[in-house]
Amino acid sequence: MGTLNIPVYLDYSATTPVDERVAKAMMDCLTVQGNFGNPASRSHVFGWKAEDAVKEARANVAKLIGADPKEIVWTSGATESDNLAIKGAAHFNAKKGKHIITVKTEHKAVLDTCRQLEREGFEVTYLDPQDNGLVDITKLADAIREDTTLVSVMHVNNEIGVIQDIAAIGALTRSKKILFHVDAAQSPGKVAIDVDAMNVDLMSLCAHKAYGPKGIGALYVRRKPRVRIEAQIHGGGHERGMRSGTLATHQIVGMGECFRIAHEEMEEENIRIEKMRDRLWDGLKDMEEVYLNGDLEQRIPGNMNISFNFVEGESLMMSLKDIAVSSGSACTSDSLEPSYVLRALGRNDELAHSSLRFTLGRFSTMEEVDFTVKEVRKAVEHLRDLSPLWDMYKDGIDLDTVQWAAH
């Protein structure tokens, strides 16, 4: 603590650096002196040792979410877990029904998987969240039909950091005997998870948002009552046939270790991060025309998604060249649409174009927060001086009444 590392990294929701302890554990699983064996090799000690390491990692992952180790299926990441859960459950239950419910603010890994199922003849309802980003349970209940087989709702939103009431949704889906999938890629180490208390049937996880390596994830698949899914990747029958492929021991060990650390240090870490988050918001909120996107209370400590009205997000990021953040502006992506998540909250296009996401994490410092506040204020002022919209706002012109020459 107490240092300013330039460039400042405030994009922990995109990915995190690997914790030194995790990297060390992973490195011990690679070379000839290390635990390099194939965990599926049953005939010698190299295989047994690797299997033990995988077993320990499986237990650590299970523990963090209140599951049994046998309910963990290793995958290549949350994207694969989402695909396996949604396609796997939809296909397995296709005879019962072909209707799925999800939310407009889900990650693309969920939305595009649902789109694919629509092409295959499934029907998908995409719920609008409320303005604070949270799902309205009554609306969800109303969307349930006779032929609904699966509800997929994320736990923590990657853009705005809001936390859905998974337990309430789980109680509903369980009472209706509908499968419930949760994309929890952003949750480990940030919010407590208990798959039993929450009545979750399938849960997607990954390591690289929790100080573990990229390219490894897991899908929790409930055993009691047993949830069945169709495999999407076929081969040697690993992971009880649900996901074939030689287990990547070093990746799995990395995920296990980062989940173990998350379990131990989560509480303390969240307190520290929340203090920094509050300092960031306190440093910015007194500026004119600044809006927080997403609920302030039902939110992970590390996320601040803020719209700076009359300033465009990409140019703002360009001004903040010593600070790594991300923007909901269209200009930063290949599409011309601004953030679909912010649009789904009912934010207008201007505010969606004007948003920045700051995500703090384990290695963030107060000094970095103070530096960020100073730089952001400076950049917003500079860009407002350049902004014709700011001029008009200051002249008392209501921008909604202006006839724009749209292009």
Binding site: F310, E312, L336, N348, H353, S387, P388, W404, A405, H407
Partner: protein
């Protein structure tokens, strides 16, 4: 995305930022784009008695390339007659700033802004000619 040095230069040291009196007879104002699309440019030109652009000012809401395009355009139009300014093509801006393909729309917007500012001042001149006649 990596920006060219020229974009960064115009972005960090924008030329001719400001506002001219839109009601003045020898000032033409062009406002193009829409907030919903992520960019709005306001370009203003002031012509002298010989019809030469003697001053130009801009303000732009948009990405770095949009800001740089409009800043560059204010430099390009100064000293030109309206006809000469009207002949400026967006590809000149693209080349000068080394804009990547996804940013070509910024240069198109800048060209549109010149056209709109010229149209505005020509309308004012026509009106003046009418009332004088």
């Amino acid at each position: 995305m990596a920006y060219s040095d020229k974009v960064i230069d115009h972005y960090e040291n924008p030329r001719n930022v400001g506002k001219l009196d839109a009601d003045s007879a020898n000032v033409g104002t062009g406002m193009v784009g829409a907030p919903a699309c992520g960019d709005v440019m306001r370009l203003q030109i002031q012509v002298d008695d010989n019809g030469v652009i003697e001053d130009a000012k801009f303000k732009t809401y948009g990405c770095g390339s949009a800001i740089a395009s409009s800043s560059l355009v204010t430099e390009m139009v100064k000293g030109k007659t309206l006809d000469e300014a009207a002949a400026i093509k967006n590809m000149e801006i693209v080349e000068e700033l080394a804009l990547p393909p996804v940013k070509i729309h910024c240069s198109v917007l800048a060209e549109d802004a010149i056209a709109a500012a010229i149209a505005d001042i020509r309308a004012k001149q026509d009106k003046k000619a009418e009332s004088a006649a």
